[in-house]
């Protein structure tokens, strides 16, 4: 059992939790992920490490409520426990020896982009951040990005926060202004990553993306997380989760991400109905 030592509501659908997991905290690095199970019958949910505190032995996760498991997780409070928490899994982000990097985050993907930006900043890299949300209500980690970024461009779909437009508009402007990047690191919805990669390919800027496909065990056993990268089959859990974005077959990944959509929607509705009954 793993204790929830802190819970913070970041916006109506996104929550941050610090989980007591000293072994994981000792080894976790930016870019890696964990898998948790909320309770004994729960599914295995992969989530990227948002932060860690080696001294206190805690690992932070930031999650959006999208399915039955995240709905259940979101109903737990500080001092309560989750059944399982395993990691760190996957390869860490390469943050060494970079002069200038543009970190692009979209929506809850910013939760994963932030530790990367912070890691780069701490290594003395000049970080430019482009963060985008649908609207003002969904913004997370604004001040955190400000702290570690030499430049932080804020975008929203409806113009209610920062500038109106897409992260690709902002990234294009930065590149056109003459900012030269060792690489772009982009984390967000598949569609956003696909278009960011199309853009950076035009300018020939190396781009790293973090993939979050369907996964069961997370240790290389099930093969559910496979992607086509550079024409070859790769497993996100052991070969990734980060890949060269110019090599990833995004159209295939987008299709594969929908395999269990109908099931997940139904499951979440079932869980929501249970909580509603409890309230009534």
């Amino acid at each position: 059992m793993y204790k929830i030592v802190k819970k913070e509501i970041l916006n109506p659908t996104v929550t941050r939790m610090d989980i007591e997991a000293p072994f994981v905290a000792r080894k976790a690095q930016p870019g890696q992920f964990i898998i948790l199970r909320v309770d004994e019958d729960g599914e295995r949910v992969p989530l990227t490490v948002a932060d860690y505190n080696r001294e206190e032995g805690t690992v932070s996760i930031i999650f959006q409520v999208v399915g039955a498991s995240t709905e259940k997780l979101n109903h737990l409070n500080e001092g309560e426990y989750i059944a399982d928490f395993v990691g760190p899994l996957g390869k860490a982000t390469d943050i060494e020896n970079k002069k200038r990097v543009c970190v692009v985050g979209g929506g809850v993907g910013c939760a994963i982009a932030y530790p990367v930006a912070k890691g780069l900043f701490e290594k003395g890299c000049e970080v430019h951040s482009v963060i985008g949300f649908r609207n003002r209500d969904l913004v997370i980690l604004e001040e955190d990005f400000d702290k570690v970024s030499a430049k932080c461009v804020k975008m929203s779909d409806d113009g209610s926060w920062g500038e109106k437009g897409l992260v690709t508009d902002a990234l294009r402007a930065l590149i056109e202004e003459g900012n030269e990047y060792d690489e772009v690191i982009c984390i967000g919805p598949l569609m956003m990553m696909k278009f960011v990669c199309a853009l950076t390919k035009e300018y020939n800027v190396k781009t790293i993306v973090s993939m979050n496909p369907v996964m069961v065990d997370g240790t290389g056993m099930c093969g559910g997380c496979r992607l086509t990268v550079g024409g070859k089959v790769k497993f996100a859990c052991v070969d990734g989760p980060e890949f060269d974005g110019h090599e990833v077959d995004f159209d295939e990944a987008i299709k594969r991400s929908g395999t269990y959509k109908a099931f997940e929607k139904g499951e979440r509705e079932k869980v929501c109905n249970l909580y509603k009954k409890e309230v009534e």
């Binding site: 072994f23 498991s69 395993v86 056993m221 093969g223 497993f235 499951e267």
Partner: protein, 463 residues
């Protein structure tokens, strides 16, 4: 006077058209009367050829003699001296190619049902209340086991019985390895696996779940910082293989590992499970091994129309004969001499069929199996909405890549000597991590060999 009937007592089983709709155990086990009758078929040969056929060298004629007398407790005691998992082995061992293949009674008639008797004895024992396990006194030496599958559990059990302080590190949230994620409930009920694990715990074995060694701790850390004097790697087979044909990443194409893990480990077969599993109308399972049979029989139980697609013929199927027969009885179709060349998809990226090359058998290969060769111009299309690839696995690179000096062969299997010792001092390995995908009992044999080598090495160092 032994019972000279030429045939084994048949195994009582659920009827095929009933069991192919549920996940309850297929074989129901002998009654006491059947067990005693079967045991009396044993001639108690002096040279005991059956023991030679057993990878863990169970004293077979001795335990059977006890069963014949109705002394089941003594029979269990004899088996458990050699095997840590008798209820498991009695169910999943390929006895027909091991102990029973050497049985003298098999020369004229059928061999003694050794596996069925082993299962009977273990189940009888597990059904007794107030069974006490004597926890041996600690000898103060610590051994770490990586992986809680059959090799790891066997190694752990043997060492614990000798007084070692054994900790088993398991990557998943539950112990048992392939016994819980791979082999389906209807062949090996999970309560039986749990019982065997509980017995090991009572012997003092500690099991730490959610520990991916190679990530959260390295082998070097286990030895240097945590004081483990020896480590046994039983991390299993690992990454599923695919055919590398077009369309393999379409929605509806799964590895057998993923399909079985969802159903077994994550309990997707149960009503109300939170784990999704794709219930296809028509499933093609590619491959002919035991895992392919398990996947096919699971798919059948989820209501699919199932076809096994294999590039050789029925005679070359690598699965146990019993598994093939069970699958056939349950209504699974076999499309032999057929090799997929492309998975076909619809406009939304879902599987709609498979394009296949028809094959014929050519010259025998180095193993003596006739090689399948394409029949020129003969292609066929199989209609299906799911494909389960069951063509083997390759070893997981996690431990190799984080353990300096650990040598592996060209296939990624860890290299060991006859004692299970790797190229690293104090580090042993066994099971699928060494051999690639094989059987439960071979893994157990390897765990046993390593346990005795570890015991010798530590005793020697202590002198």
């Amino acid at each position: 006077m032994p019972n000279m009937r030429l045939t084994k007592n048949p195994m009582p089983s659920q009827k095929a058209d009933v069991r192919n709709k549920n996940f309850k155990e297929v074989a129901l086990g002998y009654t006491e009367e059947m067990a005693i009758d079967e045991a009396q078929r044993c001639l108690n040969c002096k040279n005991k050829p059956c023991v030679e056929g057993c990878p863990v060298k169970i004293h077979i004629p001795e335990f059977i003699a006890c069963v014949a007398k109705g002394d089941f407790a003594a029979a269990y005691e004899i088996i458990s001296r050699s095997s840590s998992l008798p209820a498991v082995c009695g169910r999943v061992c390929p006895q027909e190619s091991q102990c029973e293949s050497k049985c003298v009674r098999g020369i004229k008639g059928e061999a003694v049902g050794i596996g069925r008797l082993e299962r009977f004895v273990a189940d009888w024992h597990n059904a007794q209340e107030n069974v006490t396990v004597n926890k041996p006194e600690s000898n103060g030496h610590k051994v770490a086991i990586i992986g809680s599958g059959p090799s790891g559990l066997t190694c752990a059990g043997d060492l614990a019985k000798k007084g070692y302080e054994v900790t088993v590190f398991e990557a998943l949230h539950v112990a048992g390895g392939v016994l819980v994620y791979g082999i389906p409930e209807f062949r090996l009920p999970k309560v039986i696996v749990q019982k065997e694990i509980d017995t090991l715990k009572a012997l003092g074995v500690k099991i730490e779940t959610n520990m991916v060694i190679g990530k959260v701790l390295s082998i070097d850390e286990l030895m240097r910082e945590y004081g483990f004097e020896a480590v046994f790697i039983g991390s299993g087979a690992g990454l599923p293989r695919f055919m590398n044909i077009p369309g393999e990443n379409l929605n509806g194409v799964f590895s057998a590992n993923e399909f079985l893990t969802r159903i077994n480990l994550m309990k997707a077969y149960k009503e109300g499970s939170h784990t999704p599993v794709y219930r296809a109308k028509k499933v093609c399972v590619v491959g002919g091994g035991n895992v392919a049979m398990d996947a096919a029989r699971c798919a059948k139980r989820l209501g699919s129309d199932v076809t096994i697609v294999y590039r050789r013929t029925e005679a070359e199927l690598p699965a146990r004969r019993e598994e093939v027969e069970h699958a056939m009885e349950e209504g699974i179709k076999f499309q032999m001499l057929t090799n997929p060349t492309e998975v076909l998809g619809d406009e939304n990226g879902w599987v709609k069929g498979m394009l296949c090359q028809e094959m014929e058998l050519g010259e025998p290969d180095e193993k003596g199996r006739r090689r399948p060769i394409p029949k020129e111009g003969a292609m066929c299309t199989l209609e299906c909405d799911a494909v389960i690839m069951s063509i083997g696995t390759s070893p997981n690179p996690l431990i190799k890549s984080t353990t300096a000096g650990l040598e592996v062969n060209a296939h990624g299997g860890i290299i060991v000597n006859e004692d299970g010792l790797t190229s690293r001092d104090g580090v042993y390995a066994g099971g699928d991590a060494v051999t690639g995908a094989a059987t439960v009992i071979l893994a157990m044999g390897a765990g046993k060999t390593a346990a005795s080598a570890i015991d010798e090495a530590i005793a020697k160092n202590a002198e």
